[in-house]
Amino acid sequence: MATRQTQSLARLMRAPAIILLLIWMIVPLGMTLYYSFLNYNLLNPASTSWAGFFNYKYFYTDPAFWESIWNTLVLVLGVLLITVIGGILIAMLIDKPIFGQGIVRILVISPFFVMPPVAALIWKNMIMHPSYGVFADIAKFFGMSPVDWFAQYPLFSIIVIVAWQWLPFATLILLTSLQSLDGEQMEAAEMDGAPALSRFFYLTLPHMSRAITVVILIQTIFLLGVYAEILVTTNGGPGNASTNLTYLIYRAARLNFDIGGAAAGGIIAVVLANIVAIFLMRAVGKNLD
């Protein structure tokens, strides 16, 4: 009797969260799917009509779409490369016996707490600005002409900003993993005369592999959605040079008022994200029991 009571109480306690998330998942996604088959422009809503797969075809044949897919890939892979390799090196450095480890940690993780528009504007104005930025000051000091980063290397500049934001996350997680490494094993290897490089490749790296996987998968999900950094720096330009898929869809929806096209793009984004998600769910699911 008591257990049955507990069970129905438990069901009651779970229900609100489940129902809310069910609605949050099904209703908007269903609407996106529906809109993706419509010719629907907010500038001319009266002429809304059934479009079939036109929006998908239109997106698919638009050169901007493929450029945005390519940019999304470069952005995600570029940031992953910098943050994972940088994160491993910095985590190993902080893990060494050093003075003021607590403060070093705090300094290193700080960029993660800077909201994207602020991070992007700091880099755009203080650091990378062609006349007043610190990089320009350094170039002038060495007698070189300053680089107009966002005009000449727009996507690279955004990669730098986003990598700066995510490097702390990678470092922190890899450091957590590193600190659970068996010190005695390492010492034994050292005493047996294993050189530092093979200690790294045969002990440290395998130990961190799980954490590295988690970093890659979680960052990928967030990196697919990079938006504010592009909005406040390059606006996706010049041309489409720094437009990722998220930004392309935003532009279709909010600047071109093309509801149908943006919805079709949204569905494509869901498919892409799901491919990543499947891998992440497996990695996390294994850890649940």
């Binding site: 779970r14 609407m31 003075f99 707490f113 880099w123 610190v134 957590t176 988690v214 649940l288």
Partner: protein, 274 residues
């Protein structure tokens, strides 16, 4: 590693680590310094020593009514987190203490909703907001951010609650505690640290959220992330004022973040790395 390390080696590593740390922190440090400069100083070359004027802070407040976006951020971040906790605490509690054979599936499904890219539902959410009058309201953003963070909240709470040992409950029951006594005197004190950590991390996430806040607000309900983003145009704030506004926007959350390092790892990896 409790090993004797020569002081020389330690000093070497210390110098290397501090150089890297200061390089990473430099953009934030330089923004803080610039916020105490005059506008002229701010654009006249590299300079680490400002004249320590507070003019920029004053002007940001007087010209742009900084207090409003700040309060919007507070209301939206705290409101959405508290609302999410109200729904998630009972759910995580039930899943941790009376799990069924579906509990794991439900948790995985909740996690999967988090994988949905925000931009995929931009169109419907935007249209719903336009039609229901939720556009540019705090309550609208509170609802969206609450739903967006709900899976993380449930997950974090679940991993914390699961660590509360079941034997303690049994002991309490043997001593004749009623369900109510059990919850008030035994479970709540043990659950509070986990709930506090979850609250902290989610306030940080909601404070820094910059997609929906920019899409769904214009002026009235714009929190700091949308407010700062509006200064991207060339005729926006000048360097020192931009720095002052930035410092005020990130300072509270930066300090909270320093206290939540451990929870951050746990919360953002869904318990996969501890």
């Amino acid at each position: 590693m409790a090993r004797a390390v020569s002081t020389q080696t330690k000093i070497g590593w210390t110098i290397a680590a501090w150089i890297v740390a200061l390089l990473i922190f430099f953009p934030i440090l330089y923004t803080v310094i610039t916020s105490f400069k005059t506008e002229n100083e701010a654009i006249s070359g590299f300079n680490m020593i400002p004249s320590f004027t507070l003019d920029s802070y004053r002007e940001v407040q007087s010209q742009y009514n900084y207090f409003r976006p700040f309060m919007n951020s507070v209301v939206i971040a705290v409101g959405s987190t508290v609302l999410a906790l109200l729904v998630a605490v009972p759910a995580a509690w039930a899943m941790a203490f009376s799990p069924t054979k579906h509990t794991k599936d439900i948790l995985m499904w909740m996690l999967s909703t988090k994988m949905m890219p925000a931009v995929a539902v931009l169109v419907p959410i935007y249209l719903i907001f336009l039609r229901t009058g939720l556009m540019d309201t705090r309550i609208g953003l509170v609802i969206v951010l609450m739903l967006m963070n709900l899976p993380i909240v449930v997950w974090m709470l679940y991993t914390y609650f699961r660590e509360i040992p079941g034997e303690i409950l049994e002991a309490a029951r043997m001593d004749g505690a009623t369900l109510q006594q059990e919850i008030v005197h035994v479970l709540t004190p043990m659950a509070v640290p986990g709930i506090a950590s979850t609250l902290l991390l989610n306030v940080i996430l909601a404070w820094n959220e910059s997609f929906w806040t920019i899409q769904l607000t214009t002026t009235n309900a714009a929190p700091l992330s949308a407010f700062i983003a509006s200064f991207s145009s060339p005729q926006g704030l000048f360097w020192a004022k931009l720095s002052a506004a930035s410092v005020m926007a990130i300072a509270p959350i930066l300090i909270m973040g320093w206290f939540s390092q451990k929870q951050l790892v746990r919360g953002l990896t869904f318990g996969a790395v501890k």
